[in-house]
Symmetry: C2
Subunit: 448 residues, 2 copies
């Protein structure tokens, strides 16, 4: 660092906090600070040293807070916030056939996706999520909403055989993806993936097309896999093999493949996962709520397979709260394995941040507080009855902090949430705009 | 109701809300109000009719809110908030032997219990809990804290064979309970129970003594039962029968018996539960976190057995958040049974309110909004990105509202939380007083 007598380098901002959890390395830092310039972390160090070494016009001091990387929500259908709570406590096929699909068939459009995604981003940023990995129709609308609201997003181009308002079949989906790629590449906060919906909704032809486009454009692939036992049974009947084995044969599995849900895993499946280097997005609350099954996270982690955490869409969760989700993941891993040491606090915080970033190929850019990475970070105040006393800040974040304790959120160094309030938009205005959609969806649902 | 021309009866306050969920009957009311006098609900009806029929100096209008009964936390060790996060992610016996018991052995005292219980009440009231069912040492201190802070509490006199700072053995515990009963009966917000710790920590003699005192004084009994498979195996080895069968033979099981945890239940156990009329306190997060097992709530409910919901102590949960706990209960029941219709929103809200009240023999007094019952009620604002849109307020409370959305809390008609802030105490002052304890506990724990 330069001496104090030389002119100090100027950075854009310095954020200091009582505790810093950089995630990588796995250390708890006391009274440390981040120096940030042009959206990137320049340095991280003891508060006094950072202030001695750098000067900034914008200084934030957070004396009761944990400063840590923002959460990476590894699986969302953001626009489905417009259907949150429309139909709960129903069997899966009733929920889909009688509620979700009729509403989607009638209303899904770029405007619907923009509105729903804006609501989702408003919720996610307030809860400390700085990146989300999305799969839905009209991905260009979701990407534009994220870019406009200053949220980092990995946008999946959905691929599905059956006709939707978005495209007629898998070929048309692949064509739409190829057409949109250059446009979304212009958006600085956006990266893209291909998102074949599931093994049972995309035939071999569409999956081969996915692999070809993914290889040609170096795109990650994001897909629901082994969500339910029924899916596995159906594949055995139809294809003579389990879905994961079929995807392996089609050449789709590699470290750029993110398999979502994965509640049904036998020993061979785990070997395929490990050998291919794929990542798994664990969505415990959605899996529980729909009665789909429970991913064996302790066994998955024993194999060294990368685990990320996602909320799934608000229609099946019903929130986009990563603090809640990571807590459920931590508790469920222990309860399901019977081992109270499974998925401990440090590991679950890593899965919800760096694990998610690595799962979508963004480990170079976000998910931990390290010099050179983007300043995607959040502050969580521990000054709350639910997090008193503080013997261990890592434990408090993992096991008791609520989304309301997220006070500050920065994406790419830009402040998005300050003292719990959105900086650039009025939530009431968002709700007002959305009400017209809500009324139409309610009327349609009640008359289906 | 009296005509508008006659002098209107005067009540203390009228609370009206956009939505009212009285719990019993199971209806959702729109634009309704409660009239409250001397801590009791006088009437519930459409807002305009209540205002036409009654006059009150104190009127509260909650236009974005659900008004509902406060939560009944059916199992707590409130004072253990002082040990929250002290030791996580450890095997049960390491956690107990190397952390919790040494700290308890060194520090537990009336002053410790007062301090820890005050912290717990501050957290519970902010999260919408209006009654808690406690089991800990020095119950007179916990009772006094609840009475002082205006919180309703069911205080269990702990009974345990091994010597503690509180008493030398089960006989001494029973004597302490008998001695304290008249004193605690003077506290209007307090009722009492006997709380034998667990089948493996109280021998037959202590359990017979418990039954005799419970019968003589008409007291409910509150006990950990079938928390782990190990407990059941040990009982089979030592007593030749499962713990529940042993308790039945000792004459303890009846509708005034609350069995906490109950993760291990075979068909005979379920029959014993059903035939005895006992209630079960389900503590899903504690059971998961300690890897104890998962109570089969769907099967329990099929038998018509009463289910309440509890958080357990903050050292094993790690929060006292009933909204979080009821959500975990709802999700886990579906995930564990594979049935997405299990433990639906209405039923889980009932378990977290009226189910808890009935489990502790307070169903006549609290747990639902009905004329004649006490005004123990809470308001939850749905004006939040996580609960937008509102197709179904019951679903929004069960599946997405956070504890931070609890804006108002009344116990016995007295406001305890207003716009999210404690009315009668400063949280910072509580934390300051507690810091001396925290320092001593940390020093002891690090030197054990």
């Amino acid at each position: 660092m330069p001496s104090q007598h030389a002119a100090k380098p100027v950075v854009d901002q310095i954020i200091s906090a009582r505790w810093v959890i950089p995630v990588r390395p796995r250390v708890l830092l006391h009274h440390h600070a981040l120096a940030i310039k042009q959206g990137r972390i320049v340095a991280i160090g003891p508060r006094d040293e950072i202030h001695a070494a750098y000067t900034a016009a914008d200084n934030t001091t957070l004396d009761q807070h944990v400063l840590m990387p923002g959460f990476v929500n590894a699986h969302t259908h953001a626009a489905m916030t417009l259907m949150r709570g429309l139909a709960d406590d129903l069997p899966l096929m009733t929920w889909l056939n009688e509620h979700i699909w009729p509403v989607e068939g009638r209303f899904v459009s770029p405007e619907f996706v923009s509105m729903g995604t804006e609501l989702a981003i408003a919720e996610m940023l307030r809860g400390g999520t700085t990146t989300f990995n999305d799969m839905y129709f009209f991905p260009e609308a979701a990407a534009q909403s994220a870019q406009n609201m200053g949220m980092r997003a990995h946008i999946g181009h959905v691929i599905i055989d059956f006709p939707t308002a978005y495209a007629a079949n898998a070929d048309a989906c692949l064509q739409a993806a190829a057409d949109l790629l250059p446009c979304l590449q212009q958006m600085p906060l956006i990266r893209q993936s291909l998102a074949p919906h599931a093994p049972y909704t995309v035939a071999d032809a569409g999956l081969r097309g996915t692999r070809e486009l993914a290889e040609a454009e170096q795109l990650p692939v994001h897909m629901h896999v082994h969500e339910t036992a029924h899916e596995v049974e159906e594949s055995l009947a139809q294809h003579g093999r389990r879905p994961l084995a079929r995807l392996a044969e089609l050449g789709l599995l590699n470290p750029r493949f993110l398999a979502v849900h994965m509640t049904q895993l036998d020993a061979d499946d785990l070997t395929i996962c490990r050998d291919s280097g794929l990542h798994i997005a664990h969505c415990p609350e959605s899996n529980l709520k729909l009665g789909s099954g429970i991913a064996p996270v302790a066994r998955i982690r024993e194999q060294g397979i990368g685990v990320a955490i996602g909320t799934d869409g608000a229609a099946s969760n019903n929130d986009l709260d990563m603090l809640g989700e990571l807590r459920t993941a931590a508790l469920l891993a222990k309860g399901f394995s019977g081992d109270p040491t499974a998925f401990p606090a440090w590991e679950v915080l890593e899965a919800a941040t760096l694990g998610g970033a690595e799962a979508i190929g963004w480990g170079d850019l976000t998910g931990s507080l390290e010099p050179g990475k983007t300043a995607d970070c959040i502050a969580i105040s521990l000054d709350h009855p639910a997090t008193f006393p503080v013997y261990d800040p890592v434990s408090q974040v993992a096991y008791c902090a609520g989304r309301d304790q997220v006070t500050h959120v920065w994406v790419n160094g830009q402040i998005r949430i300050r003292r719990g309030q959105a900086v650039d938009w009025e939530e009431q205005a968002l709700f007002s705009r959305a009400q017209a959609w809500v009324k139409r969806i309610r009327d349609k649902d009640q008359n289906t």
